[in-house]
Symmetry: none
Subunit: 431 residues, 2 copies
């Protein structure tokens, strides 16, 4: 309880007048909609493979548009393919408060990553609509395009979606450029999707934690301090392809063996260094890739994340130093090519954190400050608007997996905090 | 020199009377013919892509038939498409001595794999023809059909070419069945191509080593002890797919890290165990295979080869025992699924080895016993006739590549040993 006491002492005076009578989100409705959304792209393991631009994604998007309309929102798709449901405010000329997340998934993903934020945002709009809660500011509920493929929609919204990114082949098989067109956007007019600093009053994203901190500590709400930075390298190990039968063990330059040693080194360095950094080899290819040929080349992915850029660099430097040793010892050169998808650490807005914390506290929920280990559209929006993020617990911390799970109660907690946060912002809590 | 002294002590008494005056193969003629053969299916890198049943293969086959006729052989194509050039012997009723190899290549192959054995065998026949060397036994020079596609011709010759194999689509785009028909065989009457045990006096195959042992040790001739057996497993490592950003290092069940540890163990076990066994991880896939997802599953190939089945089993048992430890320590199960492509070790005939060794020795060439790490038509013939194999050096051990190279001198050495071997067999050295 010391966190809450601390909060009351520090932050309570900043909070504007409370809304008359707290409106709570409906856990059953949230659960029912999450399940329904999960039918689009359902996979045999019980999760979804609803990669952006796929038929399943389009079916899910149509479902979301219908829900938005039923919540009294007028729906449009911007040129980046982002679905935006808007309700006007009661005062002329105020910038909109935007909130939402995404509904695309990784291949073999679950039903909660992104979905909870979109369904939760629609719940907030629907509660306002049903209870006749007016807001001074317009509200905009957003479902961003292709979050999992590189924050495509939010990156376009801040004007940072590059031509190179548009040419990337997405999991759908289409380039992102074609995918955007396929979902109703116009990749040639992405300028029309851009929001400038000042265009939005604030942005708030509700999301599952995707880690186990809230779940294990039995805390209701995570107030996100910031989103960790990510850097990503393609690592190429050069060996010598040769006949697996005629080449004795001591005459091999086996790129696969070097890759194995490097993978273990990466894991060890990230594990042993104090701190919360992570490093992952998620993808690997051996060439030519036949059981009877010693791999002449292996390409693998290296991803490093931390809340501080300097720490990411330090982890990488340690890995590269060890790679040099391995490469020398095995006479198989190792090259690191950084892929231009780096996102710097993105701290959230300090006032937004306080408003979210106050909202949770006033609703009688426990909460804690925490980093986000995952990337989110919020990190892009943070560059143009005061941004906050609300986390709810992930059971066992499982994510990007069919076993991803967040309870209806926790989803409702998150949506209730989101509603209270939006209303507090609308009511002047954000200066 | 200790090898030669040992040989003289052990084997010399078994050798029959030496041929009067050793006849040597002509390196220039061999080189010129290898180059000419290389024009059929030549690829931009300077090797050949003369896959079986292709137009290039047919052109090459016609060239071979012409050479056989010029060497005084009567040429026929058996129902499996094998080209057989025969000369009768001086004694009635003796079984033929067969020797030869293949002229088809892998895609992107070189000019020596198989070709040296066929051109060398024709050289032997031509030398006999030119010098008027009669033999008691008939001789048959063979160019086997589609060695690279699964020992097609030799498998048919021993009656083991299955219907399933005939239905396989070869690199030519044709099924093997259609390919056999295309080169003048009759896949419906493969029974006519079969040789029974006792039908052949012996089979000898001259071939490039495809490894670097002879080249690096500067030895002229390899006396093949046998063709190694091959077993192959698909190995599945079960981890737990999770978000690479939100999952702390100490809460991961990362199938990729386990795969890395296993790969190093496989390499170490095969390297440290005394003997010439090899074990290779040539293929790997991480699932779902995204840079931002901890792999929940990794599938890799494990191939083990040795001259002895028991040794293959021993290497596998050691790997499996270590896999069990790794799997326990990392809480990521490892499963081995054997793929049904095993070929058992095919030892060559002991007397044949001695005859080949004696022939090399008497010609003043250095030689050594060695296994063949690659598969050859000889392994099929070994099941129906006393079989021997003669290896000549491959520069740098490179094979299945346009960079494959064997010098004219080495080719001529091989052909000279082949001639002497055939004559020794004919003369009664093989009981």
């Amino acid at each position: 309880m010391h966190i809450r006491i601390l909060f009351v002492l520090l932050f309570a005076p900043l909070i504007a007048t409370a809304q008359s009578g707290d409106v709570a989100a409906d856990p059953d409705r949230l659960e029912q909609r999450i399940q329904k959304l999960g039918e689009f792209g359902t996979n045999p393991e019980g999760g979804v493979s609803r990669v952006a631009f796929s038929d399943a994604d389009i079916a899910g998007r149509n479902y979301i548009k219908d829900l938005m309309r039923a919540a009294g929102l007028s729906v449009r798709v911007d040129t980046a393919g982002n679905i935006i449901g808007r309700r006007e405010g009661s005062e002329e000329g105020l910038p909109p408060i935007m909130f939402g997340s995404h509904i695309d998934s990784v291949p073999g993903g679950g039903n909660y990553d992104g979905d909870v934020g979109v369904i939760g945002a629609i719940e907030v709009a629907q509660l306002m609509y049903e209870r006749g809660i007016a807001t001074r500011h317009p509200i905009e509920v957003v479902s961003f395009t292709d979050e999992e493929g590189g924050l495509t929609g939010s990156r376009a919204m801040i004007g940072h979606l590059t031509d190179a990114a548009l040419d990337v082949i997405s999991h759908s098989g289409m380039t992102i450029r074609d995918g955007i067109r396929h979902v109703g956007g116009d990749p040639d007019r992405l300028d029309l999707a851009v929001r400038q600093p000042g265009d939005l009053k604030a942005f708030v994203e509700l999301h599952i934690e995707q880690g186990a901190i809230l779940y294990e500590e039995e805390i209701d709400i995570g107030v996100v301090e910031g989103i960790v930075g990510i850097r990503w390298w393609d690592v190429t190990i050069e060996g010598f392809a040769n006949h697996a039968g005629t080449t004795p063990m001591n005459r091999r330059w086996d790129a696969m063996v070097t890759a194995a040693e490097l993978t273990l080194a990466i894991n060890r360095i990230a594990t042993e260094l104090p701190g919360r950094q992570v490093a992952t080899v998620g993808k690997i290819q051996a060439l030519p890739g036949a059981p009877n040929v010693i791999p002449g080349e292996v390409v693998l992915s290296l991803e490093i994340r931390d809340l501080e850029s300097a720490k990411i660099q330090k982890v990488f430097d340690l890995i590269r130093a060890e790679a040099d040793q391995i490469s020398d010892a095995r006479s198989t050169p190792i090259r690191f090519h950084e892929v231009d998808v780096a996102s710097p650490p993105a701290p959230t807005d300090d006032q937004m954190r306080r408003i979210i914390a106050a909202s949770a506290d006033e609703l009688g929920m426990s909460f804690r400050l925490m980093p986000s280990g995952a990337g989110h559209d919020a990190q892009d929006l943070a560059t143009i608007a005061p941004t906050g993020m609300i986390f709810v617990p992930s059971v066992d911390g499982i994510s990007h997996s069919p076993r991803e799970f967040t309870s209806a109660r926790d989803m409702a907690n998150g949506a209730s905090v989101l509603l209270k946060t939006v209303l507090a912002i609308d009511d002047g809590a954000l200066e």
